[in-house]
């Protein structure tokens, strides 16, 4: 069961930037992102998030987001998704980085979640 990482931000550049950071430590982990609205404005799009879930090669995804409405759109996309996606209310950069580093070392989801617990901020 391979783990993938999903990053969702209100701004495409933030999402893409976080992924650039993660790739440095987790080149073999499937990481996809969704940032901004369908029109490229600041916001989040359930359709974009659904596409990022579908494009991820992981069997099971760990999802990280920035602000409130990203979480709501993520939750809706998760309800429509055909693979398990777990959502974490942790600091976006630190949380995603921790998860990606551990996933790259084949650490289990349970152990990753234990490391994420202290990063919970929302």
């Amino acid at each position: 069961m391979s783990l993938g990482i999903l990053v969702v931000s209100h701004v495409e550049g933030i999402a893409a930037g976080v992924v650039t950071l993660l790739k440095q430590v987790a080149g073999d982990v499937s990481i996809t992102y969704a940032g901004g609205t369908d029109d490229g404005d600041v916001g989040t799009s359930m359709d974009k998030i659904s596409q990022a879930i579908a494009a991820n090669d992981g069997d099971e995804l760990l999802a990280f987001y920035d602000l409130g409405s990203a979480k709501m759109n993520l939750e809706m996309a998760i309800e429509f998704a055909d693979k398990p996606v777990h959502l974490y209310d942790v600091a976006l950069v630190e949380g995603a980085y921790t998860a990606a580093s551990l996933a790259a070392a084949d650490v289990s989801r349970g152990d990753i979640e234990a490391q994420l617990a202290p990063l919970k901020i929302k």
Binding site: T37, D38, D39, V42, G43, S45, G68, S69, N73, E75
Partner: protein
């Protein structure tokens, strides 16, 4: 009487109000949010209006579901999933009943589940909660709507973008509460309650 035709009229009236008031909604969203509520809602309701116009004699469930999907995919801000979930829950419930009070109760439960806000958090929940009750009691009027919207002004926000401002959010009307007030006013003016 609520059916596909009157529900469409309700949403067309809501879309017209949002279009007319979009600058005001964004103004409300400027001191305590990200100044996009009017634009986001107008984009969503334009999509709703277009989608509904393509339906021929739709039933209630189809009207609500079409509205939900347009809002979810077009609004962009937090209002998309929140209003979208409200209409999605009404679509589900409308398979069993056309009772407006029951439908709106299901919508409110969906909003609370999606956003996690409670009464007093300075969100649309503060408007929906008393107004859904007013509909059930047969007491919905414009005065009740105005009271519910205005009551959000002194509150300190605990959810949504305004919550980042903490105490500084007090003294401002909540934009999502204002747009929710327009939704209930449209309900009055669509003659659904008669």
């Amino acid at each position: 009487m609520l059916n596909g035709a009157t529900a469409t009229k309700w949403l067309d009236l809501f879309a017209a109000t949002i279009e007319e008031k979009k600058d005001y909604l964004s103004e409300l969203d400027t001191p305590i949010g990200d100044a996009d509520h009017g634009g986001n809602m107008a984009r969503g309701l334009t999509a709703v209006k277009e989608a509904l116009a393509k339906l021929a004699d739709p039933d209630l469930t189809t009207v609500f579901k079409t509205t939900a999907m347009a809002l979810i995919s077009k609004v962009g801000g937090a209002s998309g999933p929140l209003y979208g979930t409200a209409f999605l829950e009404m679509a589900k419930k409308s398979k069993d009943t056309d009772d407006l009070g029951e439908l709106l109760t299901a919508a409110l439960a969906g909003i609370e589940k999606r956003g996690g806000a409670k009464v007093g958090d300075k969100t649309m929940v503060d408007v929906w909660t008393p107004l859904v009750q007013a509909v059930k009691d047969g007491k919905l009027d414009q005065a009740a709507i105005d009271d519910a919207v205005n009551a959000t002004a002194p509150l300190v926000a605990h959810k949504g973008r305004a919550s980042y401002l903490g105490e500084r959010s007090a003294g401002h009307l909540d934009p999502g509460s204002m747009s929710s007030g327009y939704l209930f006013s449209a309900l009055l003016n669509a003659g659904v309650l008669a």
